[in-house]
Symmetry: D2
Subunit: 300 residues, 4 copies
């Protein structure tokens, strides 16, 4: 895996037939679909992957299958986010055995920790990992941020090589870029796709964008346009991303609209099952109809 890791690394959804059975064929189709779009890596077991809702057996199965189906075509990053350090390490070892390139960890999400406690936790975790680690800033789910000075401190650890930021806070991301500017090869990726183009223009290395499950080439093209500073293309493709954000992620009433929209669109496109694990449920007929029309409007 090149460092810094550059480009589009989609956070894979976890295709499920029901709450305890992975849609294996759907997953293979999904991975081929995504890699076919030219992406630069895959991120399995992230927030979009409903990782925390999966049993450990299913998490291991997702690692195994994803590495197998990716088959070395792109690096595979594996989410090991957990509240137990020991379980994180166990999962990381399993990922290494299956050929993954790196692991990703959001802050333990039950007990909140102060910044010194966070440093203590991640230094001890990184010591035990068989693979390089990306930090994952996700305050809406973990209640805690990685402060820029904390990231700078953790970047001294040889196993900590990057950060994915899903806070949507543009000031925070720029502070990270500035704080880490002299750390060679440290990767900074952004989660929210609405911000991908602008962060790449201003120093970010790429995006971990959920929409790339559905339209991988669009996000790759936008990333390339941003790298090339081709504003005609950027404006065209970025508007398409915003259209997806509004029409696919903005349906339904609760905070889970984004996840439901992505899975519903994948199901409508015949790629994989749209089932969601508890506490979420997949869209029913009325919302499916809205998503269907949205896909027609988007027209990719």
């Amino acid at each position: 895996m090149n460092q810094p890791l550059k480009g589009i690394v989609p956070p894979l959804v976890t295709p499920m037939l029901n709450s305890t059975t992975i849609d294996v064929e759907g997953l293979e189709r999904l991975i081929n679909h995504i890699i076919g779009g030219g992406v630069h890596g895959l991120f399995v077991l992230g927030t979009t992957g409903e990782a925390q809702s999966l049993s450990y057996a299913m998490r291991r199965q997702m690692i195994e299958l994803t590495c197998k189906f990716a088959n070395g075509r792109v690096p595979v990053l594996v989410g090991i986010t957990d509240t137990s350090m020991e379980e994180s390490v166990t999962l990381a070892k399993f990922a290494a055995q299956n050929g993954a390139s790196a692991v990703v960890s959001a802050h333990p999400y039950y007990y909140a920790a102060a910044q010194p406690e966070q440093i203590y936790f991640y230094q001890r975790l990184a010591d035990q990992l068989p693979l390089p680690l990306f930090l994952y800033n996700m305050p809406s789910h973990t209640k805690v941020i990685f402060e820029p000075a904390t990231v700078r401190k953790l970047a001294e650890h040889k196993n900590i090589i990057g950060l994915k930021d899903s806070s949507a806070n543009g000031t925070y991301f720029q502070k990270l870029c500035y704080e880490l500017r002299d750390v060679k090869d440290f990767t900074l990726l952004v989660g929210p796709e609405e911000m991908m183009a602008e962060t790449v223009l201003l120093g970010g290395h790429g995006g971990v964008n959920g929409g790339a499950n559905i339209f991988p080439k669009l996000y790759v093209d936008l990333y390339n346009a941003a790298v090339a500073r081709d504003f005609e293309k950027i404006n065209l493709l970025h508007e398409k991303v915003m259209q997806i954000s509004k029409l696919i992620y903005g349906v339904g009433k609760y905070g889970s609209s984004y996840l439901k929209g992505v899975k519903c669109a994948l199901s409508l496109k015949g790629i994989c099952s749209g089932y969601l694990i508890e506490p979420y449920e997949e869209f029913k007929a009325p919302e499916r109809e809205i998503i269907k029309k949205a896909l027609e409007t988007i027209g990719l």
Copy 2:
């Protein structure tokens, strides 16, 4: 187990020699100490038990050991809080096999859910449980509350028999009492010990109070005084509880002061190890000295 469950059900700390080894002898001493104080039950694998920081193997060990050491003297409640429903069910089955009386579940703490999603989750969970279930309201850690109307709805499920509230919100607790007033034998327990006496006076069934790890008899006596409406005793014992709250839980800088204080006090009293699992650390010498003096001041 009687229903409603009444009295003091201490949330057991998990005595640890280090991050991967349970202090088995300490745990046996702790359980004998607590049951010796006259408590009405034990709650293992709660927030005070650092459950989410333990590996699954350690969680199972804690269940096994607690049931063994309790040896039927009091009912054992087991925390099965998890983000994965399947892992919750697996742990509940293990608890049942070991002789536990009930299980306890706080809302899945990574993905927040709206109230209808919460009802969907808990109805499906309760369907699969081999033991009766207490809901556990803990919004500071899970980001989500169980609204009173949601609890009322869930109480219709034959396997859902009570709720432990750790929100510290007195209005919320009274709304629960009112909403559930006609549900026969539904148990309502309060977490924060500072509120135990007043909630028992106004309709609550008891407390899941962390300080009862250290001073079990004090909390049992206060509970009994509240049941007897003996205000002379209530005022005397409640003031002692407030003193513990201030002197033992108010040391140190971060949100983890309560946990560190309880474990430090237990260690100083020679009951069990004071070690905390990452992301937390046990108190060092200066704070230990403060807790030592606090114990002398409290003088129980």
Copy 3:
């Protein structure tokens, strides 16, 4: 005014004919209605009084009219909560000139302050006040709490004589009681009426309860029952309070249900206008019908 101030001090609604005109006759009827119920004081220009939505001219008019209509029968407390210390002082002087007994101030609600800044602010404010001051803890609106140690420090100021807590946090209120236990005559009142009985039983001095606009005698009776530790009465009257909480404050979709419910009930009882100032609107016919039925069910 006796110190500590004990009993029921209703937070007056501000009866309005429209957004710029006070319903003067309604206000006179309301005050006579409330005082007729035996309350121990009046609190004008609080959160229930929509004070922050009123122009300064209307705030002054409310002070003038309330003092005039109360006519010395009970002490009048005046909200001077403001983001500008100078405007707070100006309003306090006007209150003193009109015969008010004390003023009340929630934390400045635009710029959040740390505890040392809060102490700095309130010491300078109290220095300039012509009347004694009650602090007003209202974190849902001000984003900031008065930590117990801060209150203890501020209580050393001769002009700071009490605190009204609307946080609904029972642990917090008990910590205040404990922290202030040796400060002679310091008043601790609770806002949420659902908690009034229990806080009076455990050391609080009374309630600033919105429902006492509608049913003043009920809250006075409940307060007296709590003082007398008459649990038969407490249970009966407290259940009535909970019924009001559910049926009158639980209608409608937004956070403003409580305010709309109180004003609607007052309007239906013919006491004063139910109009609310922007950003809120009074209930329309469907919700009015629900409140009407609720009043019949409550049947006081």
Copy 4:
């Protein structure tokens, strides 16, 4: 005033000699300093201007003096943010009489409102205003956001011509750009200077950046470089902005570090007094020394 309003519109600090006296000479120097840097407008009485801490008399004085000292060289925008609609309108009329070009309003910051209530409030407010209105999204202080669909709805009002976003949420800002893309001449400005360059590159109209009080030309140059898509200049100047963000705004312990840093730097540069109004205090000698060294490091 051109529409959309493009460029740098610094949020003026309010120079104070003490809590009740404006530093009039300092204000004149400050305005000449800022306009000399080539800015495109001035915004008086914003969050940086400590508007909510000023008495109404001082707010009026600031409007009067700013319009007088600006003397028509650039448009003056006036903050009328208030919890009382009537006071907002009164201030807007005063601004119009003094020659201001537009007014700016953040959501009423005591009572939170739901989106329909927000629309109701701003439509009624805009009806009464003698000047065009910019909405001001500031959720950290007001607890409420203007959802993109709400802004789209409000943009239909002829008096509502733009929005300043200080949320630092990059996804939100892009959603606004997309939602408003077909509303002719609607202005979208960003508050946090760390995000100014990237939002201008991706469709924003400019910045309301506090650092432009100290270094107006830097922000104007960066804005122009972003408009010209001159990445060599952007990278150079943006790094300088990030350096200011870290070294000037990152000193001190509380949330008020930004305000204290800006005022301290202005004082050290001899432009105006560094005094802050309660609840804040200006930096003392140790922090002043740090800011002094920071200014030397920045070296502009």
